[in-house]
Symmetry: C2
């Protein structure tokens, strides 16, 4: 690929976030991926790393079978973009989500996301992914 | 920047889509940006270029003051990702949207998107953008 070494490292960091933090919903692994002063743009979560850990513990308690099924991932400079399917339980139609992460010095320092209920049975047969 | 020439061209194509098609809501300009067999993943629109033109004419008729306010744009190989704020009228809180476009031979051939109502007054002061 034509990724720079920094972009490859950023992609690996975000893959690690999904594999070691989000899918196991393991707040104890957060510090290896996210900076202390993490800037949160998700409008339902307080800014900072500690509130993100609390959020993760909360979703683990209410949706212990939840998964984050990554469909595609992109890198551009210090940003990584992930398009994925959240399912809260095995047969949940779930949400389509895009996360945008900004990385500095090997840690995620800023996060934006957009989430939408997956709509089934619309006028095209292509699916949302 | 470290974009390839193809990535630069893809970014310019998508900027053109926003400037010449989406913001003026001009369906007559669509053919310069979108391939005839355009694969649509938005679950509310039929697949193909012609239904996209009809959709554009529809939103222009119901929201003639609508704008697509681009906040950030990324390129990775044959994909371009755009994070933007749709406002249907001047003081609309609007939607946060991410579009993902795939480009082949200088035209957009595939499109995914995720949209969410902008939430005001949440627990952080960072805003959704």
């Amino acid at each position: 690929m034509r990724y720079t070494a920094d972009e490859e490292a950023n992609l690996a960091l975000v893959r690690g976030l999904f594999d070691e933090v989000l899918n196991p919903m393991d707040s104890s692994a957060v510090d290896r991926f996210i900076a202390p002063d993490y800037i949160q743009h998700n409008p339902s979560v307080e800014t900072g790393r500690a509130p993100f850990k609390a959020f993760l513990d909360h979703i683990r308690s209410v949706h212990p079978q939840g998964i984050h099924d990554v469909k595609r991932m992109f890198a551009d400079g210090d940003h990584v973009i992930v398009h994925y399917h959240v399912r809260r339980w095995p047969d949940d139609s779930g949400w389509a989500v895009v996360d945008i992460f900004r990385i500095e010095n090997g840690l995620i320092v800023e996060h934006w996301d957009v989430a939408q209920d997956v709509k089934l049975g619309g006028p095209n047969a292509n699916g949302m992914f």
